[in-house]
Amino acid sequence: MTNALKEKIKNIVGPKNFFDSEEDRLCYSFDATPVYQQLPEAVVFPESEEQISQILRLANHELFNVVPRGAGTGLSGGAIPVENCVVIVMTKWNKILEIDNNNLTATVQPGVVTAVLQNEVEKIGLFYPPDPGSMNVCTIGGNVANNAGGLRGLKYGVTKNYVLGTEMILPNGDLLKTGGKNMKDTAGYNLRDFIVGSEGTLGIITKILLRLIPKPTESVTILAYFDKLTFSAKAVSNIIASHITPSMMEFLDNTTINCVEDFTHIGLPRNSEAILLIEVDGRGSIVFEDSEIIKNILKKNNASFVKTEADLTEALKLKSARRSAFSALARRRPTTILEDATVPRSELPVMIEKVTEAGRKFNVTFGNFGHAGDGNLHPTCLTDERDKNEMERAHKAFDFIFNEAIKLGGTITGEHGTGLAKKQFLEKVTGIPGLEMMKKIKSVIDENNILNPGKIFSLSPRCEGTLPHNIRQFIPGK
């Protein structure tokens, strides 16, 4: 990127919002995704919709790339810079603009930290359920862009279930408004839901309208230990089949238990093969009745120990311990590659087996944990990116896991997004027509492919004239 062009960008956002030192570029060359890294040309903090719009227009004119970024806690590489790009950071857009107690909605800027919003709405008895593991750091904008899930997804769904409307600057610089406070809206294509999970490839989100729900008044947290992985998986299936929907049902295997215990010191059972952390919530006595039923199912499924945590602070400790699982696994090895293959819930026991098999087959170590209740596992490969041989085996193991998940009717990513890390597997899930439709949409909305290009999928290079061919190949007409 030429200095003259950098000057133009600097003029748009002002010198205090423009960073292009070696150190700044380095610090924005990565997000939470292992292995991927690329230096951006510059990093900017725009202050208004107008500035974002001007940058995107300039990008189309001068043909440089733009990568939007929130807190940089994504795990699929959505915020990793691409070549010749400017990173647009939205973390300073962190105002909660309105909490509407009559319509049960919140209007926020994209840089609001998820946990901050949750605390604010809970003060007035409302509830915003999506709770990704990084909720103390990650932003709503990033959550919407990746359709983030979380522990409570089992009962309450994921981010898309709470987005009522968005405002977004399109790649051509126009402002697109979708949705609104209406609970029903069938006017035209459902663009709003289409934006959720678009991973910053279709526009830069500048405002979000969220649906809130009343806060549950009662909750019970149950912790169960198991001596065998299969017992815990079976217990999960039985609970789902009993028609009770806990608000969360989390699974941790022995490796994860030990790493989390090293960090939190809350007395998790280091010798258990698996634990389940279950929360039931709602209003009134039914919560307690359900929790009794669940406890019985756990005992019937050979849980070696079952306890109810009545104390809210202790329950909170257990949940935040679970949220630290991914990072805590880094205590074992310096590179933790975490995936989120998801299968229909009934297939969970098979999937857990397959992860163990992958570890054995390719001689790599896995820590496994995840949202057992919604079939969303996070098999995490504990490795070292500096060991090329081991990394290759790790990739093969994931290849195996993804293929097995798809065979079981599952998907390659439940809540982290496709980004860079999983785009090579996308076609297996969407099929060719699905992938082609996505590519067509992208090329219509972002004509010059300047906004977060190469994420989710790569657009095929446009060739003019005859295609290069292999001389041994049969060529029609010759």
């Binding site: 150190e23 380095l26 610090c27 924005y28 997000d31 939470a32 990084s134 805590a328 590179t335």
Partner: protein, 443 residues
């Protein structure tokens, strides 16, 4: 940009790639970091700084002004260590980076040389420190100070100098080492053999707190051994890039405290306690000291940590006061001591302990940060004082000298009428029933 790691003699200062690659840049530290909170720039965040350190260590980038600036902007409060599930010991990394920065820039920086002179020749030398303190004491108590303040004389030289003069802890009327004898004995039978480290700043500026500590230990049936040969713990040196000198001081302390004479070494200063607990690590490669350093460190206890695990031999007398406790970073983050001081305070009848927002967030004192980076420090202090003021306590309780003078300065500057006390002084007041008259319970 004079040096890069591969080409200079200091490259062994920075941690190895194995240590640096422990950080998986997940970002869980971001919300805990006060400097990131302020700038919202990744380079002011723990994971950004680690990335830069790693790049410098691998000779990918040179030691630049931005690098130096960010290493020194860090408060070294270690809140990120508490937040880090992967267990990265960030404090060690940033301290090593500071050594690297100082070594790189030393030749042309007067500031580095002045800082080093003050730390080595004044702070670490008990007699010099007392000499300076006597001068400061005379100044603080004289009418010259009032005249200076009224006419803003210091402000003429520098606005900072005038602030720093107010920030300086009030020098005590006496120095504690001169009043504490080699052995202090409890009235009752001796249950525990303790040793006491009276510190450098604590000794000259918080002499009363040191005497209170001895009294409280006595009330817990402790014999207290206080050798006068002990020296400054060296933490400020290590945190400011002078590891070699810190090692020397550590050696002197290990020699001064005869190990057979005590089971626990008590510190009432969070920073000193944290650092002395690390002597084992600091001297791990030292043939002469490594073994003794390990044993020494194992005996170090913060005063709150020690007392919490024991029962007092005297009765705690009721008081009547609403108080808040503010964590010292080197207690809550470095030593993971969070509950002990709170539980101790709750055991005092009549003391109502309220929690504040951000009790475990750095006040900006951070060693000598409040002197070397006063503008930044005041920002952190302001937020701390505002949070305290929200719950309107009449007493703020702290367990570390740096935070004590910083928060006292802050509450005064922002005009919040509140008393600031060290935790052991509060305990002493209750144990010996000589708590400030206005807070004595009428029960």
């Amino acid at each position: 940009m004079p040096y890069s790691a591969s080409t200079n003699i200091f490259s062994d200062i920075l941690p190895s790639d194995d240590v640096l690659s422990q950080c998986i840049h997940c970002g869980m530290c971001l919300s805990a970091c006060p400097t990131y909170e302020l700038t919202k720039l990744e380079r002011s965040s723990p994971r950004g700084r680690i990335k830069m350190i790693r790049s410098v260590a691998n000779a990918e980038i040179p030691v630049s002004n931005i690098f130096a600036e960010e290493m020194n902007f860090c408060l070294d409060c270690q809140a990120c260590e508490t937040a880090c599930p992967a267990g990265v010991r960030y404090g060690k990394l940033v301290e090593a980076a500071r050594v690297f920065v100082d070594e790189t820039f030393r030749k042309n920086s007067l500031k580095v040389r002045i800082k080093r002179f003050l730390l080595r020749r004044i702070l670490a030398d008990k007699n010099n420190l007392k000499l300076v303190s006597r001068v400061l004491r005379i100044y603080q108590r004289s009418f010259i100070k009032n005249i200076f303040e009224i006419f803003g004389v210091l402000r003429i030289f520098s606005r900072h100098l005038s602030e720093i003069s107010k920030l300086a802890p009030k020098i005590s009327g006496f120095f504690s080492d001169e009043k504490i004898s080699l052995f202090s004995f409890p009235d009752a039978e001796v249950k525990y053999k303790t040793a006491f480290h009276f510190g450098c700043v604590m000794n000259v500026a918080f002499a009363e707190v040191n005497l209170d500590t001895i009294e409280v230990l006595k009330a817990y049936a402790c014999e207290v051994y206080t050798p006068s040969e002990q020296v400054c713990c060296g933490s400020l040196h290590a945190h400011n890039g002078d590891i070699d000198f810190a090692k020397k001081l550590a050696g002197k302390n290990i020699d001064a405290f005869k190990q057979e004479k005590f089971e626990y070494l008590i510190s009432n200063s969070a920073g000193c306690g944290a650092f002395m607990k690390d002597y084992g690590y600091l001297l791990k490669d030292d043939a002469e000291y490594s073994e003794r350093a390990e044993m020494f460190s194992a005996k170090v206890k913060d005063v709150t940590e020690f007392l919490y695990a024991k029962n007092p031999a005297r009765k705690l007398m009721p008081v009547s006061v609403t108080a808040v406790y503010q964590d010292a970073c080197h207690l809550v983050h470095s030593q993971k001591i969070k509950n002990e001081p709170r539980e101790l305070l709750k055991s005092i009848p009549g003391l109502i302990l309220k929690e504040t927002e951000g009790a475990d967030v750095c006040c900006g004192s951070a060693g000598i940060y409040n002197v070397s980076r006063i503008e930044d420090s005041l920002h952190f202090l302001k937020r701390k004082v505002e949070n305290i003021n929200k719950v309107k306590p009449s007493l703020v309780i702290i367990s570390n000298p740096g935070c004590l003078s910083q928060i006292a300065f802050g509450t005064e500057k922002l005009d919040h009428k509140v008393e600031v006390m060290h935790l052991v002084s509060v305990l002493r007041g209750s144990l010996y029933n000589d708590f400030s008259q206005k807070w004595k319970s009428s029960i």
